[in-house]
Amino acid sequence: MTITRDRPEPSPMSSFAARLFSRPWIWSYLAAVAVWFATATFTGGKGSADVLTVALTFSSFFVIVGIGQMFVITSGPGNIDLSIPANIALSGALAMILMDGSNAMIPVGVAAAVGCGLLIGVFNYVLIRLLAIPPIIATLSASFIVQSIAIAYGRGLKIKPPPAFAEFTTGRISGVPILAILAVLLAVAMGFVLHRTLYGRAVTAIGQNQRAAGLAGISVDRTRVATYVLCAGLAGLCGSLLAGFSGGASLNMGEEYLLASIAVVVIGGSSVAGGSSNVPGIWGAALFMYLLVTMLNTFGVGAGIRLVATGLIIITVITLAGGKKTGRG
């Protein structure tokens, strides 16, 4: 799982395979496939296509928040967004309140959820800059407040999503979940942003060496604020979709997304030390995380073992990937 980007290629014969295996993201896909096979073998292949469809849907949510978190983590050691769960809870509730079950209000609701996320992102960065505090504590204190607002406005919220929105979030096109298609498109778009835009270049540059980036003429501040806002905006989007998917917003629906967002980044082969990230790995890792849970469920393993396994896998991956640089990651 180590990053083998700078390994020389052995021979032209195996060059394709070598290139493939030198990609840090390939491992997450291999793991996902292995886990899926194990599940399929156990069930004798019954329903394994369904498993995949469900996995695609749930992974989509992981992917949406994971990409945002990936940009934040990529922007350098110490950068992390802990406000994602609170953000999802508030944005989801806001979307449901605004839509109020009416199809006509769907765009307004989604836009408001994203806008709410963007605002949280701005708030996060204002705290980071003005108070000169580490991102982890800034996003943590912001999340306290956001969570409270979400509780105050979202308690006992029994608004169902508009039928069209529920259909959209749970629907399929020739068997493939719409959400998954959306998330793939998003991943492709963000991959483009990462590799082909000045902004993406700036993020990877400051993530490798913030001082050198400044001296090379990159605006560090502008890049960082954009990154926190982007991440929070995606979390807001995820909040509205999740509310639509699960038949309404609930206060704790964002809970599992804090660890999930970080886990998919780490397992997907991005460097926690920053500066190196890859979008395909997010998908692989998200599928792996979900399929792993499914596999353990199929094996009849309880929730406890599942949690322990998830935690140990993350620790194993990070230990193997090794820590580079210093600083709190």
Binding site: I136, L140, F144, S148, A152, G304, L307, G322, G329
Partner: protein, 313 residues
């Protein structure tokens, strides 16, 4: 006089000041709360929070962060509500093993130079999973002796206050006033200098993590003694509360600048904030929001002081 008004002194005065402001506000709203019974009620759960905060403080001293302390305290509470009562030997052995696991984590993080955030985030799942295995549904019961210790009713001064003072003093003496404590804090301030002077950073880190584990165990046991039954989710909030408590108490994220007394006060402030809100008839929904706001307020004040200091220099 000028020394009293130095930014360092003002910074150190912030946590007690925040506590005072809070107490005055409570007194204005509800004078009867400032009494023996009132404090017993208000500070009911302050002690386990303070213990968890101290655990976090040890980790922050060496420039790391523990995102698993809440799950860990929950696990210890679950052990307290099950094995400790049913099979005391097994229970005690488990808790000791927990401390050893913490020391091991410290070693792993130091040797592989890993980001503590990711490792402890992973560990939070492990502890949560273990809790669920141990206690799939809330329940169990704490051993009698534990309950009677924790619920001990002192004359004159509420037990929670007395124990918090004892806790603050003990950790203050151990970390701030002992010869070894100086070295351990030094490892947060200038690790290179400590290593150059011949101390083992590995052993320091393992020691600090083990201490965090120890205080996490104490927090879990106190908690389960008060609630008498366990739950895998009982203390998940503690992760965030403990970090907030250390920072409120004047601790810095890097550089080994921490204050055990401040941290205990910080935990008190966070615990009392809820009471004030209820006296103000503000919905408990806003409780964590208020905690966040207090944290931001104190950080803002501190950053103002730091800037004033930088300008003066």
């Amino acid at each position: 006089m000028s020394a009293l008004l130095s930014p360092r002194m003002l910074r150190a005065a912030l946590p007690p000041l925040a506590l005072l402001v809070l107490l005055v506000a409570i007194w204005i709203q509800q004078p009867r709360a400032i009494s023996y019974t009132g404090f017993n009620l208000m500070l009911n759960l302050a002690l386990p929070i303070a213990l968890a905060t101290i655990a976090q403080l040890f980790i922050i001293t060496v420039n790391d962060l523990d995102l698993s302390i809440g799950a860990f305290v929950s696990f210890c509470a679950c052990v307290g509500a099950t094995w400790l009562a049913e099979a005391p030997l097994l229970g005690v052995a488990t808790l000791i093993a927990c401390v050893a696991v913490y020391a091991g984590l410290g070693a792993l993080i130091h040797l592989r130079n890993l980001p503590s955030i990711v490792v402890t985030l992973g560990m939070s799942f492990v502890w949560l999973g273990l809790s669920v295995l141990l206690l799939p549904t809330p329940g169990g019961s704490a051993p009698e002796w534990l309950v009677s210790i924790v619920k001990f009713r002192m004359p004159l001064i509420p037990f929670a206050i007395l124990m918090s003072i004892v806790l603050a003093l003990v950790v203050h003496l151990g970390l701030m006033r002992s010869a070894l404590g100086a070295v351990m804090r030094g490892a947060g301030g200038n690790p290179q200098a400590i290593a150059r002077a011949g101390w083992s950073l590995l052993r320091i880190k393992m020691g600090m993590y083990a201490l965090a584990g120890l205080f996490g165990v104490l927090s879990g046991l106190t908690l389960v003694g008060m609630t008498t039954s366990g739950d895998a989710n009982i203390a998940l909030r503690y992760t965030l509360l403990s970090i907030a408590g250390v920072i409120l108490g004047g601790g810095e994220f890097v550089g080994g600048r921490v204050s055990p007394v401040g941290a205990v006060i910080g935990a008190m402030v966070l615990a009392l904030a809820g009471s004030l809100l209820s006296f103000l008839r503000i919905s408990p929904d806003w409780q964590i929001g208020a905690q966040g706001a207090i944290l931001i307020l104190v950080l803002a004040l501190r950053s103002l002081l730091n800037r004033a200091e930088a300008r003066a220099a």
